[in-house]
Symmetry: C2
Subunit: 339 residues, 2 copies
DNA sequence: CAGTTCAATGACAACGTCGACAATTATTGT
DNA sequence: ACAATAATTGTCGACGTTGTCATTGAACTG
């Protein structure tokens, strides 16, 4: 393999001078620099990261540890955000999935250590309170889309489910809806409670009574093997005598079944029934007809800002661990109309 | 950082002996081995991959280079398959996305080289004929979900779109459907033509005339900004006097709109109209009601086998570049009935 | 013009690991 | 008991880089 030494020989300079050129250090004549650069090009030399790392004991690598994220369609955008940041800042990214196994997680931390990772982004697919097995290790860590048991442990960055659900609810209320159905997310997901709370609270603020709200459970059970009641729940809600004029869905995916339930009963969307989702999982929200009004989870920015934050922590910025929250933007499409 | 030397000191042996223990080499007394292992545990020593790599000039790392894969919900399973294989075989994975930019792609190859990657898995999101800018580099490469311009360049592994579409068509024909609609995938995708050809050919084999087939374009235009005609096409097909009893969808996502179009016209699925998808994109195929019968793209296995194959190439197995094809399994759910 | 400063370059060591080989000790055969 | 053999352990150098310090020579100061 062509090394810095071969380049030095070819350019007739010392290896240190080549090193200076590569790293853009000063104290190199323009003429020497050009000679070296030519040699680099001619030989196709590319610096060896491993050697660099060993010398500087900095790997310039971040690790992403996830439960299912990169294996799941939903939140790949988090990973994309991280990758984009890393790419723009000359960092390398190592990704590994625990698949929920803590044995596997321990192995991953070992692997990260053996690569002398500078920092870790701990990402979960479903927003949750987690307790990374990182205990025994002290690699700087930022939690993305989840939150540590005790707020002091690590910095965390999450979507603002509450605000998203509030905005969505307001959106409906401001358009005159006074009877609203709500089909709940699987309660084991942290976002589920937040979204429901926001819905309830906002409805109350607008003077709605509890009896104006038809709240039903849409799913429950362990992730990946949940019971699905969405279709039945939507059908039931829509058949009530004094039926709601709008239904909020726990997420976009569940909205598919609400659409189908509504249509099976002969309702037109949105004329007869308005529907809103959550997540802006575009494969669904844009494939539905009419396209779904929803709140966009800021996944990409979660990743981007998480990486940036981690970088600051790694660089030694003494930021005390804190929770940061990113807004969910309301995406107005065609599934809501005024009454 | 704790190195092999600190361990050696702690255990009262030479660093070479520690190295032997770490790598499970013979010629170490059981007693010494234990002493060393204790020291390793006490000090929390983890071998330094970078050092290992410069010593052995083998990085044990594979690179994944993709267009949009890891940024897109569809084919993350490919990545998961690769990761699982890598994990089981002690390899490290580096992922990078070109996002379609060839400038970016060039940078990625450089990055891979600087990490002294052993081999590259070239993965595309949409099956296509590609021509990696790898030309100037000679890193062993296996193409996954795509195919090189000239078959001799690199080995490739792809899903068998033709077989999948054939099986799906047969499934309908065997259930007595004699008038079938087909809503086409965006023609810029390689799979589009294969699937359509299989549909046409199989229908002909069963004695159907061209007039029994209602073939419509569902989407066209550049990926990410395509025109969507699915709903209109489905509506039109279903309003024909002698309408089809079944519709094949270019993929699962498009099937959403077919469902909605059918329901809007008052058809029940599958009693009045059978529908099949393609891909088995479970977020959609299982969320639909009734659940969608479809053909599963073997993404996970594509990744797994691609990685395994690459490993053999890297190890020096003189396999001449060839195309390998993996079957798409028919997934029978509830959206089809006999007529 | 002597003395000082500074830019350009190089020599060398060290990072952590492991392969080649040497040295030491234990075991075996006669 | 003594050489021959085998098992165990150690020494040293090299991988590719860059940090530290040294050297050279030219430009500047007064």
């Amino acid at each position: 393999m062509v090394s810095i030494i071969s380049v030095a020989k070819a350019a007739g300079v010392s290896n240190k001078t080549v090193s200076r050129v590569i790293n853009g250090e000063p104290h190199v004549t323009e003429e020497t620099r050009e000679r070296v650069e030519k040699a680099i090009r001619d030989l196709g030399y590319v610096p060896n990261m491993a050697a660099r790392q060993i010398r500087s004991s900095r790997s310039n690598t971040f690790g992403i540890i996830t439960d299912y994220v990169s294996t799941t369609p939903y939140s790949v955008d988090i990973v994309r955000g991280i990758q984009d940041w890393a790419n723009a800042n000359g960092k390398t990214i190592l990704i590994a999935n625990t698949v929920g196994s803590s044995e596997r997680e321990a192995k991953i931390w070992k692997m990260f250590q053996s690569h002398r990772i500078d920092g870790v982004l701990y990402v979960t697919m479903y927003r949750r309170i987690v307790d990374p097995a990182a205990g025994d290790v002290s690699i700087p860590t930022v939690m993305v889309n989840c939150r540590p048991q005790t707020a002091e442990d690590w910095p965390s960055i999450e979507p603002d489910d509450f605000q998203g659900a509030r905005d969505l609810t307001r959106h409906l209320l401001e358009r005159g809806h006074r009877k609203i159905g709500y089909i709940r997310l699987n309660p084991i997901l942290l976002g589920a409670e937040l979204r429901l709370d926001a819905f309830r609270q906002t409805a109350r603020e607008f003077g709605l009574a509890d009896s104006d709200l038809s709240i039903r459970l849409g799913m429950e059970g362990p992730v990946g093997a949940e019971e699905n009641y969405v279709f039945a729940a939507a059908t039931e809600i829509l058949q009530q005598r004094d039926r709601p004029t709008a239904i909020m869905s726990g997420n976009d995916e569940m909205a598919i079944q609400i659409y189908i339930a509504a249509m099976a009963l002969g309702f037109r969307i949105p004329q007869d029934i308005s529907i809103v989702g959550f997540d802006d999982f575009r494969t669904v929200s844009m494939a539905l007809k009419p396209q779904l009004t929803t709140a966009a989870l800021p996944y990409y920015d979660l990743g981007l800002q998480g990486a940036e934050w981690l970088n600051r922590v790694v660089a030694g910025d003494k930021i005390r661990p804190s929770r940061r929250v990113l807004a969910c933007k309301l995406i107005e499409r065609d599934s809501v109309c005024s009454v």
